[in-house]
Symmetry: C2
Subunit: 356 residues, 2 copies
C-alpha cells in the first residue's frame, strides 16, 4: 500500500533506512544529509536558474522532483528528502511570502490575533496538492531501496518566521507575543498544528515513508513555554498523523533543546530524534538508550566544508560511539552552499566503508 | 587588602553576593542582572548621549563608573558589574573597532595567521588602564555590602567577533578557520588568553571581588573543538588568575553548552556557572549538586519585558527549585533595551520578598 511502509512483520525491509526504527543498529548506519538537495550542487543551481524563483522551484512538481533526486543519483543516500520549504505552510494559509536573493524569506509579519484573519486554513489544499504531486513523482522514480522523507516545520519554528517576518536572531517578537498573550498566540499555533497534520498526512498518502518535523528555534524557549509551544503541538501532530498512518516513523528535530531532549521524545512520542551539532556523541548514545528513539545526526556542516583529517575524526567518533544503538548518520544542521561536492562523496564513503 | 575579598575565615561576609561561593544557599539569593547598566534606563541614555560614542563611554572612567553605579542606586542589586564591553580586548590589541548605532560592533576582520601581525599584546596596558581606573572609582563609591564584578569575554567568543568582523548568526568563518588551520587559530586564542589574564588580574587589583567570563558563542562548537577553544583557554585563564588571586571567585557563562555544562565546570575550574535561558531549573539544580559550583541565572529577559503573572511564575519556580543550593538570581541573557524599568523593580522585589 503506497505511503505506508510495511514495518509489521518482514524480518528485513528492502529499505535500510527503516531498519533503525525496528530497533536495529545497522553497520554501516543509513545516511542522508539535511539540505542534501541544494546550492552546493551544480546540477541544483542549474535547475534553480531554470525555475527563476525559489518558490517556483518548490511548486513545480517536475523540477522539485528533479532536485530531490539529484543527490540520490550522485551519492546514493539511503533516503531522499522532499525538496520544499517549511514556509510552504504559511504560504498555503495565505500569508504573503517571497524569497529575496541572498537574504532569505520575507513575510508580512503577523503579530496579533486580529491579523490571524488574514489566514485561511480552507485555502491550503490547492497549494499542498502541488507538493503532494512532487512526492508522488519522486516516489515513482526513486530506487526501491531508497526511503522518502516528507517534512514540515514545527508550529513554533514556523510561527517565528510568520511573526518576525523572516529569519531572526532571537525570535524576540514571537516570544513576546507568546508571553504576553498566550491565548491569542495559541490560536496561531493551533492553526499551524492543524495545517501541519493535513500537510504531513498528504505527503504520506503520496508516498513518503518517514516524516521529519524541523524545530530549528526550539532552543529559544524556557521550560514551560517549551512544553506549551514545542512539545505539546508536536505531540499533537505525531498523535494525529499516527492515527491515520500508525507505522510511519516520525523524526523530531528540536534544535538547541539541550538537556530537554529526553523529555521531548517522551512527551511528543517521536520515533526518531535529530541531534544538533552541540550534542556530544556520548549524549546521543545516552538519549538512544534512555528514550528508545532512533538518534540521527550530528556532524558539524562546517567540518564537512573543512574536510580532511578532522572530517575523518568526527565520522570515526560518531560511528564508534553509536555503533550499538539504532542510528542514522546525518549532519547536525543543513549542508551549507560552500560545501565542496567531493567532500560529500568522501563522507558517504567514510560512513559506508568505515574510517580506518 | 583591596581587590581580594576575605573569604578565608569570617563566618559571614558583609557582601551577601559572596556567600554562595562559600557554599551557602541564601534566602533570598543574591541578585544582579546581566547588562543591568544599559539602554533600558533613562539615566543611562542621558550619560550615553553626553559621552557621544559608546567606546568613549567605556573609556571615560568618570562616565563608565557613573553608569556602573546607576542600577545599584536605583535597585540596590547585590553586585555591580563593571560597565565595559568584551571587545575592549581586541581594541586594546590594536584591531580597529567601531560601534555603529543600531547595528552593533564592527571590526576589520582577521582571518589568517598573517593578519595577527596587526595585533600587539604590548599595546594593551594603556587601554586596560582606563578600565582599571573605572573599577577603582566604582569600588570607592560602591556601598560596602555590594560586590563588584569584573569581566572579560572568553577567547572563543571574542575571537568570533574578531574573525567575523562583528556579531554573526553562526560564527561560520571562525569555525572554518579553527577547523582548517587549528595551529594558526590557536595563536589568536593564545593571544586572547594572555591578554584576558592581564585584563582580569588588573581588574581584581583595582577592586573587583568576582570575575565573570562571558562565552556567548560556546554553543556553536562540537565536542573536541569545545574542549580546544572553549574549555581549555578558559581553564588556563582561571588557573592563571587564581595563581595571583586564589580567593576571587570566577563565574563562567558558556551559553548554549547544554549537556556539556557539567564537564565545562570540571575542566575549567570555575566556581560559578552562568546558565542560559534554555536550561530548566531542575537541570541547574543537578548541575549545582554534581559540580559543587554556584549556579546563576536564568530568567528569560523577554519574560522580564512581558512582566505580570508569567514573571511571577518563573521567579517562583527558580526560587523554589534552587532554594537548597548555592544560587545567584540573574537573567539567562542580557537585559534588553525595551525592558520597562518598573518590571526590574518588581523583579527585585519578588526575589527579595518572595512570590507568595
Amino acid at each position: 500500500m503506497r505511503g505506508q511502509p510495511d514495518l509489521s512483520g518482514a524480518p528485513t525491509s528492502a529499505k535500510p533506512f527503516l531498519a533503525p526504527f525496528r530497533g536495529e543498529a545497522l553497520a554501516p548506519p543509513p545516511v542522508w544529509l539535511m539540505r542534501q538537495a541544494g546550492r552546493y550542487l551544480p546540477e541544483y543551481r542549474a535547475t534553480r536558474a531554470k525555475a527563476g524563483s525559489f518558490l517556483k522551484l518548490c511548486y513545480t512538481p517536475a523540477m522539485a522532483a528533479e532536485v530531490t533526486l539529484q543527490p540520490i543519483v550522485r551519492y546514493g543516500f539511503d533516503a531522499a528528502i522532499l525538496f520544499s520549504d517549511i514556509l510552504v505552510v504559511p504560504d498555503a494559509l495565505g500569508q504573503r511570502l517571497e524569497f529575496v536573493e541572498g537574504e532569505g524569506p520575507r513575510l508580512e509579519p503577523i503579530r496579533d490575533v486580529a491579523s490571524l484573519a488574514r489566514l485561511d486554513a480552507g485555502k491550503c489544499a490547492a497549494t499542498f496538492e502541488r507538493v503532494f504531486e512532487t512526492v508522488a513523482r519522486v516516489r515513482a522514480d526513486l530506487p526501491k531501496e531508497t526511503a522518502l522523507i516528507g517534512f514540515c516545520g514545527a508550529p513554533w519554528t514556523v510561527a517565528t518566521y510568520m511573526v518576525e517576518g523572516g529569519g531572526s536572531k532571537d525570535q524576540a517578537e514571537t516570544r513576546l507575543w507568546a508571553y504576553r498573550d498566550p491565548g491569542g498566540f495559541a490560536q496561531l499555533i493551533h492553526l499551524l498544528t492543524e495545517a501541519s497534520v493535513e500537510y504531513l498526512c498528504g505527503q504520506v498518502k503520496a508516498g513518503a515513508d518517514v516524516l521529519q518535523i524541523f524545530d530549528t528555534w526550539a532552543g529559544s524557549l524556557p521550560k514551560e513555554q517549551f512544553f506549551q509551544w514545542v512539545e505539546y503541538p508536536t505531540a499533537t501532530i505525531v498523535r494525529r498523523v499516527r492515527e491515520v498512518y500508525p507505522n510511519v516513523p516520525i523524526i523530531g528535530f528540536p534544535r538547541g533543546s539541550g538537556v530537554k531532549a529526553e523529555r521531548y521524545v517522551e512527551v511528543t512520542g517521536v520515533q526518531g530524534l535529530g541531534c544538533d551539532t552541540a550534542t556530544p556523541a556520548w549524549a546521543m548514545h545516552d538519549l538512544a538508550r534512555q528514550t528508545g528513539a532512533v538518534v540521527q545526526g550530528n556532524l558539524d556542516p562546517l567540518v564537512l566544508v573543512a574536510g580532511g583529517p578532522l572530517l575523518e575524526a568526527y565520522v570515526r567518533e560518531l560511528l564508534g560511539v553509536l555503533r550499538d544503538v539504532p542510528y542514522i548518520f546525518n549532519l547536525g544542521h543543513g549542508i551549507v552552499p560552500q560545501t565542496p561536492p567531493e567532500h560529500v562523496a568522501r563522507l558517504v564513503d567514510l560512513v559506508r566503508k568505515g574510517v580506518n
